[in-house]
């Protein structure tokens, strides 16, 4: 009997590995690729250095008035610096800024353990954050109790308002979306049609219309004297609007789970809610993390639309500052600042979702 000896593995040729190998195979593999690579490099040379010198090298960073920027050819960040408090806190009374800082600081402190591997009680902490943190934050922002002066919602603004709108929207739209998605797949005809009608209605209307209706039309239908906070109405509008999108994202995930998973859960005697909570949703939500985060990012950016109903979110309050006669003509700086803040938040969400996907990857469905 002959014995089979497997052939040994050999190292790859030198020209296909390392930096040179990478350049050769990715940038200069064919004449066409070489031409395109050179063209792209030329474009980068044309655009990137001027941008860097405008933003950083030629920019003015110090000073308190527009005279400080008079001689420079770059960006005038003094404009942003002078206005930064308003951009962050809106029209909140200056003496009460600490309340907003405390609210967001608390979130960071509470949130850190969630990212620590060794922390044991993540579920309990998350539940605490979801249930009690909004109450604490609302107390801090609104005041009126515990000796804090009352601050009307019309004075809330800037980045803190943007974050509140986005936070409420995100926290409310995901569970609502999950319930709607489950409802849409339900075998019960009434539940199903209610969910279908809800989803299709909210998906069919532009967010601007929703916000406009909630702030202008709704009070006309409500009995006279009912006062219903404008910010609250905007929050509800955003949450309902985004939950319809979320429902469709989640439904996609539910549809991608093989029938065998539902059957195995049923065969083990798990009830509907247990099999959803333990088996189906963990897998379905993991599959649609990119879609969910996509919706979150869209939601975050859509909060800027509240400016049409007179709420001053980050973008609105920056635009409002352009009208200051002392600072006419610095709108580019304002927009660049707004864009980079939005970009930082959205990009972090995107990165977080990627790391989450990696962490939750446990192999493939069979």
């Amino acid at each position: 009997m002959s014995v089979h000896t497997p052939h040994p593995d050999l190292p790859p040729p030198l020209s296909s590995v390392g930096f040179i190998g990478w350049c050769r195979s990715n940038l200069f593999s064919t004449p066409m690729h070489t031409a395109l690579s050179l063209f792209a490099m030329y474009l980068i040379y044309l655009t990137v250095p001027p941008i860097i010198s405008w933003v950083f090298l030629d920019a003015t960073w110090v000073g308190d008035t527009r005279e400080a920027c008079a001689s420079s050819t770059g960006a005038c960040w003094v404009f942003v610096k002078v206005r930064i408090n308003q951009f962050m806190y809106g029209f909140f009374p200056e003496t009460e800024y600490w309340r907003i800082n405390l609210a967001f600081g608390l979130l960071i402190v509470l949130g850190i353990p969630l990212f620590l591997k060794r922390f044991q009680h993540k579920g309990k902490l998350a539940a605490f954050i979801l249930i009690f943190y909004p109450i604490i934050t609302f107390q801090l922002f609104s005041g009126g109790n515990f000796g804090l002066t009352h601050v009307e919602t019309s004075k809330w603004g800037g980045l803190s308002l943007t974050l509140i709108l986005a936070g409420v929207g995100i926290v409310a739209s995901l569970p609502l979306g999950i319930v709607l998605a489950l409802g849409r797949r339900s075998k019960m005809p009434i539940v199903k049609s209610v969910c279908v009608v809800f989803i299709e209605f909210w998906r069919g209307v532009p967010l601007i219309t929703v916000l406009f209706m909630s702030s202008v039309m709704l009070p006309l239908f409500l009995p006279e004297g009912t006062n219903f906070d404008k910010l609250l109405r905007a929050m509800i509008g955003i949450a309902l609007f985004q939950s319809a999108y979320m429902a469709e994202v989640v439904r996609g995930g539910l549809a991608a789970i093989p029938k065998g998973q539902y059957e195995a859960a049923e065969a083990l005697g798990l009830s509907f809610w247990k099999s959803m909570g333990l088996i189906i949703l963990p897998q379905a939500l993991k599959l649609v993390i990119p879609g969910i985060v996509n919706t979150f990012i869209a939601l975050f950016k859509d909060t800027t639309l509240v400016l049409i109903i007179g709420l001053f979110d980050l973008l609105a309050i920056i635009q409002q500052a352009f009208a200051d006669p002392d600072w006419l003509g610095y709108s580019i700086e304002g927009y660049v600042f707004a864009a980079s803040i939005f970009w930082i938040f959205c990009f972090s969400m995107s990165r977080y979702s990627m790391s989450l996907e990696k962490k939750l990857h446990t192999g493939h469905v069979r």
């Binding site: 065969a267 083990l268 088996i279 069979r366």
Partner: protein, 259 residues
């Protein structure tokens, strides 16, 4: 093992009926998939169900734990009749384990978590107890060392053995097998069949839909042949294979045993 052997022989001696199907009919839309099924399974009995594809054999055993609904007739499992009543269905599912062709393990949970899930959430067993029991069953199917792995990291044969262990963790009275070896490579079929044979020897009531005729010959107390949604013939294995009564059975056997 010897302990379970004893209890099984006792229950076999008593000969009580575990599953009763009386005049069961089922339709998929217009298609009449089960026609007047009558079947009684006594405790500890091992039954192999065979037949050509589309003959309704899978549908029949899936009716026993209500993965499929029957529209006419009666199915009684351990004294509980399967109706629309969710309580009855949950009761039956607690007592009936099922192993699927495609394993249907939960890919987001480890092997151990797969096994503990139902005992913890359905039987309300404390986690530690459930884990200890699960390890015992994983040892029985000879893969305790894989407990911390995810199903995606195991071979098909190993996955199917985990699936068997997962069902056993609920401590069922009856095990249903729906073509448990059909999705496996030939090299892995044997390890799964060995596990099933061991289980049969321990006295478990088993209904297996399978094309493994060797398994039927060694383990089955009764072989049932189905075609066109009907039970055509049932007999003890020796008679069934050597002296089939119906021409349809003869044809089927000649086709599967020839090569």
């Amino acid at each position: 093992m010897s302990e379970t052997d004893n209890t099984s022989s006792q229950s076999q001696a008593s000969g009580d009926v575990t599953i009763q199907m009386r005049g069961v009919h089922k339709w998929y839309g217009q298609f009449h998939v089960l026609k007047d099924i009558n079947l009684e399974v006594t405790r500890g009995e091992r039954i192999v169900i065979c037949g050509p594809s589309g003959s309704g054999k899978s549908t029949m055993i899936r009716c026993i734990n209500r993965l499929e609904e029957h529209q006419k007739g009666q199915i009684i499992v351990d004294g509980t009749e399967l109706t629309d009543d969710v309580k009855h269905i949950d009761q039956v599912r607690k007592e009936v384990g099922m192993v699927f062709q495609h394993f249907n393990l939960f890919p987001h949970l480890t092997v151990l978590e797969n096994c503990c899930l139902a005992p913890i959430w359905v039987r309300k067993m404390p986690r530690k107890e459930a884990e200890a029991a699960a390890m015992l069953y994983l040892e029985k199917v000879k893969i305790p060392e894989q407990a911390k792995k995810y199903p995606g990291q195991l071979s098909g044969g190993q996955q199917q053995r985990v699936a068997i262990a997962r069902s056993l963790c609920m401590n069922p009275n009856v095990m249903l097998f729906d073509e448990p070896t059909s999705a496996l490579d030939p090299e892995m079929i044997k390890e799964v069949l060995d596990t099933m044979i061991e289980l049969a020897e321990s006295g478990m009531t088993m209904l297996c839909v399978t094309h493994e005729m060797g398994f039927a010959k060694t383990v089955a107390d009764r072989v049932i042949f189905m075609d066109g949604g009907e039970i055509i013939e049932e007999n003890e294995p020796h008679e069934f294979f050597n002296n089939p009564q119906s021409d349809r059975t003869q044809l089927f056997l000649s086709q599967i045993l020839q090569h």
